[in-house]
């Protein structure tokens, strides 16, 4: 198949083929002009060359041998979301869809293009590693036959002294499954390939054919430690498409719940990092303190992970007036204990010796891969949805962004610790100033033939939900992008030239979701 050659001239600086919108603001599908595949490729590269990032590539099969691809980009500097579209025709001979891969010039697109390949057979010409991302060929064998999936080739390093280590899918702990294939020279990791897909539940397909109440459950459980984050992103889409005004108190309570989720997970991560280097006081105390945030979330919503809290139009539960002082007192006690524990842990030279210089991801690599969340901020990537694309309570109350240099395990731990302190301050302020407005508003029927992208800064980073509606207001496409989807390749890069024994520590410092990736 012919691939158009790149033009001699530099790509245009501001492409008119991109329709710009904002976080959680629906636009009519018709406003997104369909451009030819090469212009699409060019416009993506031009925008990303100026600081935009890929949020998702969404394919929609059409009748008559055509498929349309919606590109979703995000421009953090200008706080806007870019939408562009192209339409591919099936090749009359090979019957395949094909286009020029973005990945050689834009490595952050690699997983999205592999996704289009496995889901729709769209060939990314020139992609350096067009391997299925989630499929294990089990769909091609009889269901439930129990036969092993046909193995995919792994990237191999050959040479004297080079050996391979295979780990997983089932790991030696209580953790989700994934397969890690290390190419090592002695103790040193030359390359790590991460094979996921074991957790694939078909969430997006099920989402499309489910009633709304089930959609909320799916959103809450695509990544079970990010229930509030994903439920909020789903509800933002429903509210934008349904023209709902969410009351201020509900926005504040969503913020409280989202920050409690961040606090619980960040605190748990610090404990687990301590545990991985054998620093047991840190592991025990942070482990217990994590539970304090889960228990507060349970006081609020009845569930330790916030299931049932966020609903389209607002939230289900508030903090009763007579309990607010007790909440703040409790948070203040937890804050003191956290400060004690963090001061103790970060003063330990044994801990510093293991955290520093381990699992380094350079700023350049982090930018190229489009990493998000604390992992990106620990490599000095200046991005946080709460500041760059503020919606909800974050339009009125700001959480200062936490950036650290170094890109090592220590930087990832420090970013979490700074975020813990800032989230605690935020939660206390929000509870102290909660208004007594209603906590739930009405949501109307969905706008027809519209596209809406909602971003939420979950504790792992940018959560994106992309919704497309048809002429009767039903969803025809719905893509859920967990921050893990951007970040798994960062772990691969962190392991380069590391001793293989540092893998557990590096992995913990990323703490990515398998199910959120696999969906």
């Amino acid at each position: 198949m012919d691939v158009p050659a790149p033009p001699d001239t530099a790509p245009q600086t501001s492409s008119p083929s991109i329709t710009w919108t904002r976080n959680g603001v629906a636009v009519p599908s018709q406003s997104i002009a369909s451009i030819d595949a090469f212009a699409f490729w060019q416009a993506c590269l031009a925008a990303c060359g100026q600081g935009a990032r890929v949020v998702s590539l969404v394919a929609s099969p059409e009748l008559d041998d055509a498929i349309s691809i919606l590109g979703v980009l995000v421009d953090d500097l200008q706080g806007r979301i870019g939408l562009l579209r192209t339409r591919l025709m099936r090749d009359p001979d090979s019957r395949a869809f094909a286009y020029r891969s973005l990945t050689p010039e834009l490595p952050q697109a690699q997983a999205f293009e592999r996704c289009l390949l496995e889901d729709y057979g769209i060939q990314p010409i020139g992609h350096p590693w067009p391997k299925p991302l989630r499929r294990h060929d089990t769909l091609e064998k009889p269901m439930g036959s129990g036969a092993p999936a046909r193995p995919h080739p792994f990237f191999e390093v050959r040479g004297a002294g080079v050996h391979e280590v295979a780990v997983g899918p089932v790991h030696a702990g209580i953790i989700e499954p994934g397969h890690f294939r290390f190419q090592c020279e002695g103790e040193t990791v030359l390359h790590l390939e991460i094979q996921l897909g074991y957790q694939t539940r078909g969430a997006e397909a099920l989402f499309l054919r489910s009633p709304d109440s089930r959609r909320l459950l799916i959103s809450e459980s695509v990544a079970g430690d990010t229930s509030i984050g994903h439920a909020t992103a789903y509800c933002m889409n429903e509210e934008a498409l349904g023209g709902s005004e969410v009351p201020l108190a509900a926005l504040a309570l969503r913020g409280v719940a989202l920050e409690l989720e961040r606090l619980a997970n960040h605190t748990g991560d610090l404990g687990a990092l301590c545990g991985d280097v054998g620093y047991l006081p840190g592991a025990s105390y942070f482990g217990r303190l994590r539970g304090e945030f889960l228990n507060l979330t349970m006081e609020l919503s009845g569930s330790r992970v916030g299931r049932g809290m966020v609903i389209p139009g607002g939230v289900r539960f508030g903090v009763p007036l007579d309990q607010r002082a007790a909440w703040i007192a409790r948070l203040t006690r937890v804050q003191r204990d956290l400060e004690d524990t963090a001061n103790m842990a970060f003063a330990s030279s044994a801990l510093a010796a293991r955290f520093e210089e381990t699992g380094r991801v350079s700023h350049t690599v982090a930018e190229e891969l489009g990493l998000v969340g604390p992992v990106a901020r620990a490599s000095e990537c200046d991005r946080d949805v709460r500041r760059d694309h503020p919606r909800g309570i974050y339009r009125f109350a700001h959480v200062p962004i936490a950036i650290a240099p170094g890109g090592d395990v220590m930087a990832r731990a420090l970013v979490r610790w700074v975020e813990i302190q800032r989230s605690l301050t935020f939660v206390k302020e929000q509870i102290a100033s909660l208004s007594d407005s209603p906590i739930h508003g009405a949501v109307g029927a969905r706008t027809r033939e519209a596209v809406c992208v909602s971003l939420v800064e979950g504790w792992r980073g940018e959560i994106a939900h992309v919704a497309v509606t048809n002429e009767v207001g039903q969803f025809t496409a719905y893509r859920i992008v967990d921050p893990s989807f951007h970040n798994w390749f960062g772990l691969t890069m962190a392991l380069r030239d590391c001793p293989i024994s540092d893998f557990p520590l590096c992995n913990k410092s990323f703490n990515l979701s398998y199910s959120g990736h696999d969906l």
């Binding site: 499954p177 990544a223 539970g291 524990t341 103790m344 199910s515």
Partner: protein
């Protein structure tokens, strides 16, 4: 060093006493459902209609706690208050049928038989397999090992190899891509072995039931000894189930 001692002092002792009364769970906690069919009118299906996972059937009024995700939809939708979620965390059961609650409640866990209790009553080593679990159940199982719940004080531990295990704890709806690994793990555990299904996904598929990419829970040919409902279950619910299974807690009716 002074910092270390001060921190140690302030942290205190945190492990909970499980011998006495029920743990104090907050007002909004949704535990065992309490059904009162006498309040139902014959032509009302509001609860069953609103349930996103088809866990409720009517006439007679029943909730399948193995499918229920304890979302609070049915309770406020019931016009007569026939369904209320209590703060009772004791939800685990020995058989799939025992998970179905009606106006008389459900059946509480009975202990393993004498032989199995002699073998495992004082020491139970478990292997955990997440087969499509979202991380919710996994996190709560991990929490059992923290200083608050301290599972190992009961001689129950999670181990790093199926060869070291007496049983397997399964979470998730058992996805296509994990079924083989789960079966291999199960086969690698030396008999006799115990199987524990934790969470609505492992019992019925939960939010992913009918999704077509999983077995909708532990496949029927793997015999389950203990079902722990919830989405995810509270660590107390898991602990209660395990201790009753081993005959370490007895009594306590659900009425």
């Amino acid at each position: 060093m002074p910092n270390l001692w001060l921190t140690r002092l302030r942290q205190g002792h945190r492990t909970v006493d499980i011998s006495g009364a029920m743990p104090s769970l907050p007002e909004r906690f949704r535990g065992r459902p309490n059904l009162d069919e006498s309040k139902c009118s014959t032509d009302c299906d509001a609860c069953a209609d609103v349930c996103p996972v088809n866990a409720i059937s009517h006439a007679p009024l029943r909730i399948d706690t193995g499918a229920c995700v304890f979302c609070p939809l049915c309770e406020p939708h019931c016009p007569t208050g026939a369904i209320t979620f209590t703060r009772d965390h004791r939800l685990a059961a020995r058989s799939r049928a025992d998970l179905v609650h009606d106006s008389q409640g459900g059946r509480i866990v009975s202990a393993l038989d004498d032989t199995m209790r002699r073998l495992f009553g004082r020491s139970l080593k478990l292997r955990q397999v997440s087969a499509g679990g979202c991380g919710g159940c996994e996190a709560e199982l991990n929490a059992l090992s923290n200083v608050v719940f301290d599972l190992s004080r009961f001689g129950i531990d999670f181990v790093a190899s199926p060869r070291h295990a007496d049983g397997v704890v399964i979470t998730g709806p058992v996805t296509d891509n994990m079924e083989f690994a789960l079966r291999e793990t199960y086969a690698a555990i030396p008999p006799p072995k115990i199987v524990i299904a934790v969470g609505s996904c492992a019992i019925s598929g939960g939010p992913y039931s009918g999704g077509g990419r999983s077995r909708d829970g532990v496949p029927g040919d793997i015999p389950v000894d203990l079902y722990v409902p919830g989405c995810p279950p509270h660590p107390f619910t898991v602990l209660d189930g395990l201790l009753r299974l081993l005959g370490r807690i007895e009594g306590g009716s659900r009425s």
